[in-house]
């Protein structure tokens, strides 16, 4: 046995993690002790403040980060090599924190529901009972959602920075559990919401089992949980490679489930539809960022020297995901489900970027690396998705949100601004030039092409065409179909949602017109620290 060595904890570099988890704990304390009427304000302010401070700290860390080998990598490994605070981590942290800030704004929106939030008044009250009616008439509100959100953000921050299999698993669970709960808290259509939460939980637990089994197998192969050590073992080809391969496969299952790649995507439409729309918006954007961060680190750092063995598998998954997402989206009649399938298709596009990894020596100077392309795509996707779901929350009638597509007909004539913004987000997802989506797609397709994955890129282009059809179908419904008589109305949002939508639209436009700065930033992040 090795002797236990007290790990060095670099508190400054870990400060974002500590702040977010501290704020989450503080939120629980507020929930326990503060009077009910003060909780909303206190929780919202606390969450916003905590996330903002964490964001500032991330910037400070990035500014002072140690640089290796002329900027090829930067940052440190901390807590005995289990957490890597390197360039990609910092980029993802910043992205997740900004998305989380926007998520908090959406959570805090009370104007749309007529003075109450999108969350159930009392989750414990059975749907349709007297208790529920009472809870809703007395204006109860679950302010626990903010600590839950903060715990999820903590998990999301930990996930992509984990440099060791166990830490990664902890991050996975910490981010997942609060999300399961949040999904079941919708104020309207509670049964649908609870069903979604339960499905998500069951399947999530199932996939976590796969992940954990895979971890065990890889440990059996490499004799270590640490990514660097696993990499070393893979490079030296020590041990039984079947163990390694099955291990890689099972770990992948857990991660693919989180990002919603086919055939592990089945939960996505049900959960996206059932969950309260602010949760869907946050989850769709931020979870994907965090999970792809973890995928990148795991496959590039731990299994990077054996990429020939996992790349074909990822080809298959990427192709399947893009086709399933794009094709199934066509027949959807619900806007939230449609966006869910579109997010599945986007998972496929991002995987196309992930499998575009090349040896550094194969890259021309100044060429966009796979890591850079994926990081950029995540940013474009995150903001467009967040904005699109935020817009969905605005279209309502007396029964709450209206997500049936046929009732959106003619929206463009009634609310040209909202319909225009939504159309803009859809065009961004379709990858039309002058939106962020175009640059993102170009980046991931070109790195995949450079790595020789032209069949995947060919499928990706076909999938893009199919997907473009469905986005344009929605735009057509909004602008060219006649409005139905009792159609929904657009509720004018408070400044909170308006800020989120404006942020999403502004970033989407800016990244489409001027992608340079963010691409450079993603390039500046450099490689993973090993």
């Amino acid at each position: 046995m090795n002797e236990f060595v007290k790990p060095v904890v670099d508190y400054f570099e870990l400060l974002p993690l500590l702040i977010v988890s501290g704020v989450a704990c503080l939120g629980v304390v507020i929930e326990a002790f503060a009077p009910r009427r003060m909780r909303y304000l206190a929780q919202v302010v606390l969450a916003l403040a905590g996330l903002s401070v964490a964001l500032v700290v991330v910037v400070l860390i990035a500014r002072d980060a140690k640089v290796y080998a002329d900027g090829a990598a930067r940052g440190i490994l901390s807590v005995g090599g289990t957490i890597a605070v390197d360039g990609p981590t910092l980029f993802l942290w910043g992205l997740i924190l900004v998305l989380a800030l926007a998520g908090v704004l959406l959570f805090a929106e009370r104007h749309l529901g007529g003075g109450v939030s999108a969350f159930a008044g009392q989750a414990a009250a059975l749907p349709g009972t007297e208790a529920e009616r009472e809870a809703s008439t007395s204006g109860l509100d679950h302010t626990e959602v903010y600590p839950l959100l903060m715990f999820a953000v903590f998990g999301m921050l930990l996930f992509p920075s984990a440099n060791d299999l166990l830490t990664m698993f902890v991050g996975l669970e910490v981010l997942s559990l609060p999300l399961y709960l949040l999904c079941g808290l919708a104020r309207r259509r509670r049964l649908l919401s609870q069903e979604a939460a339960l499905k998500y939980f069951l399947l999530g637990a199932f996939s976590s089992g796969f992940f954990l089994y895979g971890v065990a197998l890889v440990y059996g192969y490499a004799g270590s949980m640490n990514f660097a050590a696993i990499n070393e073992a893979v490079r030296n080809d020590a041990g039984n490679s079947a163990l390694l391969l099955i291990g890689i496969g099972l770990i992948s299952v857990g991660l693919f489930f989180k990002v919603g790649a086919a055939p592990f995507h089945a939960w996505t439409p049900d959960v996206y539809q059932g969950a309260p729309t602010p949760v869907t918006a946050f989850m769709a954007a931020a979870t994907k960022v965090a999970a792809f961060g973890a995928i990148l680190r795991l496959f590039y750092v731990a299994f990077g020297s054996d990429r020939w063995s996992w790349q074909p598998m990822m080809w298959v998954i990427a192709i399947l995901t893009m086709l399933v997402g794009a094709i199934l989206a066509i027949t959807q009649t619900d806007v939230k489900r449609l966006l869910a399938y579109s997010s599945v298709a986007h998972t496929g596009f991002i995987l196309t970027g992930v499998l575009g990894i090349q040896a550094t020596s194969d890259l021309a100077p100044g060429e966009v690396t796979a890591l850079q392309a994926v990081l950029f795509y995540l940013a474009t996707y995150g903001f467009a998705t967040l904005g699109a779901f935020a817009v969905v929350g605005l279209v309502r009638d007396s029964g709450g949100e209206v997500t049936a597509l046929d009732r959106w007909a003619g929206l463009g004539k009634e609310s040209p601004v909202v319909a225009g913004v939504f159309a803009f987000f859809l065009l961004a997802m379709a990858g039309i030039p002058l939106t962020s989506g175009f640059v993102g797609k170009l980046a991931v397709f070109s790195v995949a092409l450079a790595a020789g994955a032209w069949p995947v890129v060919a499928v990706a282009i076909i999938a893009s065409i199919i997907a473009a059809f469905l986005y344009i179908r929605v735009i057509k419904a909004m602008y060219f179909d006649d409005p139905i008589g009792d159609g929904p109305t657009v509720v004018f949002p408070s400044v909170l949602t308006a800020t989120t939508i404006a942020l999403g639209a502004a970033v989407t436009l800016m990244l489409g017109v001027l992608p340079g700065p963010l691409l450079d930033l993603a390039g500046l992040a450099g490689q993973f620290l090993r």
């Binding site: 499905k199 199932f206 490679s241 099972l250 299952v253 693919f256 086919a262 049900d270 598998m313 199934l328």
Partner: protein, 648 residues
């Protein structure tokens, strides 16, 4: 024609020196009319009332200002030594893409100096004239805006120091020409003529843009300076292609056969437009392009030969059209085509011809603008009737118009002492020295010119009155006659540019110095023959037109030749059967292919995808157990994929 090797040595390389002193104001020449156009067109939306009242003075003022600057620079240029007469000015980097770095560069040399004087000088006179001519038009402000836009674009064209800047001006004049031909867009014929001009010019523009692309791939730049230096290093095929493509561009702009069909229709525009754009300046852009590209043409005898052939055909073609037209403007337009043919011919003859091409271009600019404006003045007095069969005997009713027109007439037929006499005579002389057939054709053209111009004079100003009932011809206001007088004076005196071989020496830094060719006959004999042929033409007109009664309606029982000439020598019919017809059937074919083939694939594809979506959708049944099953299946898939690839 000439061996390229000996020609190559004589073409000077473009090597501009920096713009200093007076020449640093070069940009102002373009900026003035451009500012006028912006103010008149864009500002019209803001201050409509005020600009409608003073807009024409702004438009005229900017061009006159531009002329004064041009004159100042010209005088400064004369004060410089011969080797310091190429001045370049870099305004800003236009764009930079990869290896292509294009600057907004201007080049001021003797060639562009003469063009500047012509464009801004004649342009100023035409602006002044338009003040009177367009007095009652409600859209006068816009008209002057377009005129200014045209002047600015034309100045860009002749001042550009690389082919892309030239192309910018080239397209700009095309646009302005389109806008001005169709200025009276309420008339269907004007709108159609504008469209026709635009489309035919596009064919030429393809030639120029392909030439520019070829230059870029060959030389890596479009600068005159670099290309003139490196041209001799390019392969003969490339040079031939460049020469022919540039010629295609020139044919479009300068209405040379086979792209001549638009010019006669373009007379639908207001008469000052015909004078400015379709006689004096824009249509000569093709000649400018060929002369400017002398460093290419001198190396490609093939392209030069084609230039000469095109020019010869055109000069006869235009002259024949001029003989049969009853519309005064169209008769003049035919003559324009023919005269540009002369310039092209001279340009195609190489170093010996370039100065005379430019010389004829300048004198033609004077006398043709003069005659067009005179025609406008006649129309002004005849209630906008253009049919010469309805004129007659106007000389005593419009004395100033008649006298000035007569000066232009004498100049164009080449009456000894008038400007056209010197310029045309020189071209015929050079052509005879080069090739006897071409020279004889040019000589024949001169005779026909004498015929149709005399016919025009006789039908308009002499003979019986054949006016419509309510027409009361009167002299035009002085704002219109003063420009006529100035232009008439220039038509008479333009020949002094040849005094002491001034223009040849002046242009030699650009065009090179020709070695002396001995003409087959002494020069004085050639001159006498030319005068004799012209006199024959005039006499023929007198006997065929002047001594007969002219019917008010054009007789229909005419010879085949007349009918063909009236139908523009079937130019439109040729276009119809060669281009329009096949183009139309190709469009129909493509449309039906799009409907059946493309739409079929797309709709079938989308139906297929939709059906697939419907099937796949059933998997999404909402049961967690089947979701978990698919997850398990996925796990198997992933693991098997990994094992299959690695262990197989």
């Amino acid at each position: 024609m000439r061996a390229s090797a000996e020609g190559a040595g004589r073409v000077p390389v473009v090597h501009p020196i920096g713009a200093e002193g007076a020449f640093s104001w070069l940009w102002l020449i373009i900026a003035l009319p451009l500012a006028g156009a912006v103010v008149l067109l864009v500002g019209g939306a803001l201050a409509r009332g005020a600009l409608d009242r003073v807009g024409h003075w702004i438009g005229t003022g900017t061009v006159v200002g531009s002329f004064l600057v041009s004159l100042w620079l010209f005088i400064s240029l004369l004060g410089r030594g011969e080797d310091e007469r190429q001045i370049g000015q870099h305004l800003f980097t236009w764009f930079e893409v990869g290896e292509l770095n294009v600057g907004m560069d201007l080049l001021y040399d003797p060639l562009s100096a003469l063009f500047l004087l012509l464009i801004t000088g004649v342009g100023s006179l035409i602006h002044v004239y338009s003040i009177g001519y367009m007095e009652h038009d409600v859209r006068r402000r816009r008209f002057f805006g377009y005129l200014n836009l045209f002047i600015a674009a034309m100045l860009v064209l002749v001042l550009g120091a690389n082919y892309l800047v030239v192309f910018l001006g080239w397209e700009g004049v095309g646009l302005a020409s389109y806008l001005l031909i169709g200025f009276w867009q309420h008339k269907h014929s004007a709108a159609a003529a504008a469209k026709k001009a635009f489309v035919i010019n596009r064919v030429g523009d393809i030639g120029l843009s392909l030439a520019i692309a070829l230059m870029f791939t060959t030389f890596g730049t479009t600068d005159f300076a670099t290309i003139s230096e490196q041209a001799s290093g390019a392969s003969q095929t490339t040079l031939n292609a460049l020469g022919l493509l540039l010629l295609l561009g020139a044919c479009g702009k300068s209405a040379q056969v086979p792209l001549q069909a638009w010019l006669l229709d373009a007379m639908e525009g207001p008469t000052p437009v015909s004078a400015l754009i379709h006689a004096a300046t824009m249509v000569t852009a093709g000649v400018y392009l060929v002369v400017r590209s002398n460093f290419i043409y001198e190396l490609t005898p093939v392209a030069q030969t084609v230039v000469v052939i095109v020019a010869t055909v055109t000069l006869l073609w235009g002259a024949i059209l001029g003989c049969a037209k009853d519309d005064i403007k169209k008769a003049l337009a035919g003559s324009t085509m023919s005269q540009i043919g002369y310039m092209m011919l001279a340009a195609g003859l190489g170093v010996a011809g370039y100065p005379f091409a430019i010389f004829h271009l300048l004198t033609h600019g004077f006398f043709k603008a003069n005659m067009f404006l005179g025609a406008g003045s006649v129309m002004h007095g005849m209630n906008d009737d253009v049919d010469m069969r309805h004129y007659g005997g106007l000389r005593s009713f419009m004395p100033i118009t008649f006298l000035t027109f007569a000066m232009g007439y004498l100049a164009i037929i080449g009456f000894p002492g008038f400007s056209g006499f010197f310029s045309k005579d020189k071209i015929i002389e050079t052509a005879l020295a080069d090739n006897l057939v071409v020279g004889l054709c040019a000589l024949l053209g001169a005779g026909i010119t004498g015929f149709y111009m005399t016919r025009l004079m006789l039908m308009t100003f002499f003979g019986e009155k054949r006016w419509a009932k309510d027409v009361h011809p009167h002299e035009s206001p002085s704002v219109m006659t003063v420009p006529l007088i100035v232009l008439a004076a220039l038509s008479v005196l333009g020949g002094i540019m040849l005094l002491n071989d001034f223009i040849v020496d002046f242009l030699s830094p650009v065009t090179g110095v020709a070695e002396h060719h001995e003409p087959p006959l002494p020069a004085i004999v050639i001159t006498m023959i030319v005068v004799g042929v012209v006199a024959l033409g005039v006499a023929a007109a007198w006997f065929l037109v002047g001594r007969k009664e002219i019917a008010r309606d054009a007789p229909q029982d005419v010879s085949f030749a007349t009918r063909a000439a009236r139908a523009d020598l079937y130019g439109d019919a040729i276009n119809d059967s060669l281009v329009v017809g096949p183009g139309r059937s190709m469009t129909t074919g493509l449309a039906s292919f799009d409907r059946r083939g493309v739409d079929g694939v797309v709709e079938g594809g989308s139906a297929g995808v939709g059906a697939m979506s419907g099937v796949l959708r059933r998997v999404q049944n909402g049961f967690v157990r089947s979701y978990a099953l698919s997850l398990l299946g996925g796990a198997l898939l992933v693991v098997l994929a990994l094992l299959a690839v690695n262990l197989a």
